[in-house]
């Protein structure tokens, strides 16, 4: 028998008993919708959590610190983050990039407006390309010149020294135009304040430290509302910054650089911390362990994420399970309907067998019928799910339940709708399997006996 004929026959059989078919389909609709909606909530929650975590920093980044405290009292030299260690880390497996962070506090000045204790961070290309630039471009990274990429919240630090002029008091941004008006930078913060306070202890006035005109290449993306991890600092090319610092401080110790046991500065740069970028989330843990073994402190979002991943998997399973129960009930409904249908059609099935209809065809006919109930229920159930999902996401009550987090709580990814549909069909066919076998084995004689 041709498949198309079989299909037409099955569908016609379903159409014959519209009400019963509709009720059975309704069961599957409810079952599918409850699974999909429940799962979509679980997925939405875990994805929102992921997004939240990602806003705190990349999932594949590891922060490395030199372990100052545990070695402080021992006679050993502390493990310092130097260019050498950076290169060692770069050579590790699965490491895609690594950038040291050379952190110095500087003062930025434009006209009357001064921003004190701004953190200027020297980074390399690996780090710089993680930052999204809003206005302007990236600074040059060839070590030639210090150009700034200014965090989008840094502007809040500028004030003109008068009372009630800072952003924190007025809520208004100072009239500073970082991109277009000249901006000066002062590296010697201590010197600046000594001169501001009228000189050092014995009252002799001190010349204010030199200020340098500094070009601003760009501003980190984001308005005054949305913060990210790059919003508060100013970034520049590491090599250019090193050169500049050496030039500014000459033989004097550079502030922030540690000294050896004798109180002398090292003749190379020691970094406060570094960021390592790993190729895949799954490798973060291994790389992190390797770095810890080198004597550094390392942390990443991976532990936190792993834990919350497990948790959200649990939630998804529980929610999916609740939905599955109603689909199971629907499956019983399908089996029942098919059984009824066989009792009604005993004679018809018998006649078909007498006329030479293949046993497999009879079985398939019933399987197609029950599978079709599953498919129909699955499709309608999916449409319903999308509707419910939309309502959940657009009801303020539901949104407030998530503690005001941004984004949709109920999310139906394509794989979920696809597998829900497949699942509904499979459930239909499994439920119809025993009835189908029963129909196949019906005795043809029963049919031709006069009842």
């Amino acid at each position: 028998m041709r498949f198309l004929d079989l299909l037409v026959m099955s569908v016609n059989n379903l159409r014959r008993r519209k009400l019963r078919t509709a009720l059975t389909v309704l069961g599957v609709v409810i079952g599918t919708a409850s699974i999909v909606v429940m799962m979509s909530l679980g997925i939405g929650m875990s994805e929102m959590q992921m997004e939240l975590m990602e806003s705190y920093g990349s999932m594949t980044a590891i922060n490395v610190y030199s372990d100052m405290y545990s070695t402080q009292n021992s006679s050993k030299e502390p493990a310092h983050l130097t260019d050498e260690t950076i290169e060692a880390i770069r050579r590790m497996d699965h490491v895609e990039g690594v950038s040291p962070l050379l952190n110095v506090n500087v003062i930025l000045k434009q006209g009357q407006y001064v921003a004190s204790y701004v953190s200027l961070v020297g980074v390399n290309q690996d780090y710089m390309k993680q930052i999204t630039v809003g206005e302007g471009t990236y600074p040059v990274m060839d070590g030639s010149e210090v150009q700034l990429l200014v965090g989008n919240w840094v502007i809040q630090n500028f004030s003109n020294g008068k009372q009630n002029s800072s952003y924190y008091e007025t809520g208004e941004l100072p009239p500073v135009d970082l991109m277009n008006d000249p901006l000066y930078i002062i590296y010697d913060v201590d010197g600046y304040y000594t001169s501001m306070n009228g000189g050092n202890g014995d009252g002799t006035p001190v010349k204010p430290p030199k200020k340098y005109l500094v070009p601003v290449a760009g501003i980190v993306e984001g308005g005054i509302e949305d913060a990210n991890q790059y919003s508060w600092s100013v970034y520049t090319d590491l090599e250019a910054l090193k050169k500049q610092l050496k030039q500014v401080f000459k033989k004097n110790p550079i502030p922030g650089q540690p000294t050896n046991k004798k109180g002398k500065p090292y003749n190379y740069f020691i970094y406060n911390n570094a960021v390592v970028y790993v190729d895949d989330i799954d490798n973060v843990k291994a790389v992190q362990e390797a770095i810890t073994d080198m004597g550094f402190q390392a942390n990443s979002n991976s532990e936190w994420m792993e834990q919350s991943k497990k948790q959200s998997q649990m939630i998804q399973m529980v929610l999916g399970g609740i939905g599955a129960v109603s689909l199971f009930v629907a499956a019983i409904g399908i089996a029942n309907t098919m059984m009824m249908s066989i009792y009604e059609r005993t004679k018809e099935i018998g006649v078909m067998k007498v006329l030479g209809c293949d046993m497999g065809n009879i079985r398939n006919m019933f399987l197609i019928e029950s599978g079709f109930i599953g498919l129909l229920g699955g499709v309608i159930g999916l449409i319903l799910s999308y509707g419910i999902s939309y309502l959940i996401n657009h009801f303020p009550v539901a949104a407030s339940m998530m503690g005001g987090m941004e984004g949709d709580i109920s999310r139906i990814p394509l794989w979920l709708s696809g597998s829900a549909l497949g699942f509904a069909v499979v459930v239909g066919m499994v439920a119809g399997f025993l009835p189908a076998i029963r129909a196949m084995k019906l005795s043809p004689l029963a049919a031709i006996r006069n009842e």
């Binding site: 016609n12 006329l355 030479g356 046993m359």
Partner: protein
Amino acid sequence: MAETEKGKEKPIIQVKNLYKIYRVGESKVYALNGVDFSLNKGEFCAVVGPSGSGKSTLLNMMAGLEKPTKGEIIIAGTHIEKMTESQLVTFRRQNVGFIFQSYNLIKTLNAVENVALPLSFRGVGKKERTEKAKQYLKLVGLEKQMDRMANEMSGGQQQRVGIARALAVNPRIIFADEPTGNLDSKTTKEVLKLMRRIVREQNQTLIMVTHDNYLAGFADKQIHIVDGKVMKIEEQNHDDEEEL
């Protein structure tokens, strides 16, 4: 001429020492009690006997609907008593047409679809089988009722649809269990005449069960059964155009 031709041919149906014993509680019912006969191709055979004599049982076993307790049934050289159920279905699909006493049309299909149904089991395409079904419905004189649903037709019309359904697959053998049982005597004659004409034209073998001796008289061969045993076998020749 006809005699010698028939003599050379192997019989299309051979039944040898056939037994069917039903167990009803403690007792045994010998529905068939050692039946032997053979039929040639193109013969119209009537199985006659009183009610409960085992006619239907015999027919069902020849059609492969029931397994014999003992004995052999050889159809076109194949032993069907050894076949599995699905082999029997295939055998019926390829060789057998069946006409039921109670018509057994599929209620949800119209006349054409009913006749085309066994063709669809054979995998014939929709266009071809509809054409064939219409052709056979014309043959049985139902040009005007082709689109009627089964229960929108009279008994005689339904039986003619049933006959068209059995013939449309062009089977080698047609089994009919009291095909005219529910029809009045005039329609009975029409239907019988029709069956005999078509079967003759296409050189098919027809086996009909009836308890009416008068109707059995139209057959080439009459097998009389009483209490599960063959009492006698009568043969007679009929003219095609003979009035019933």
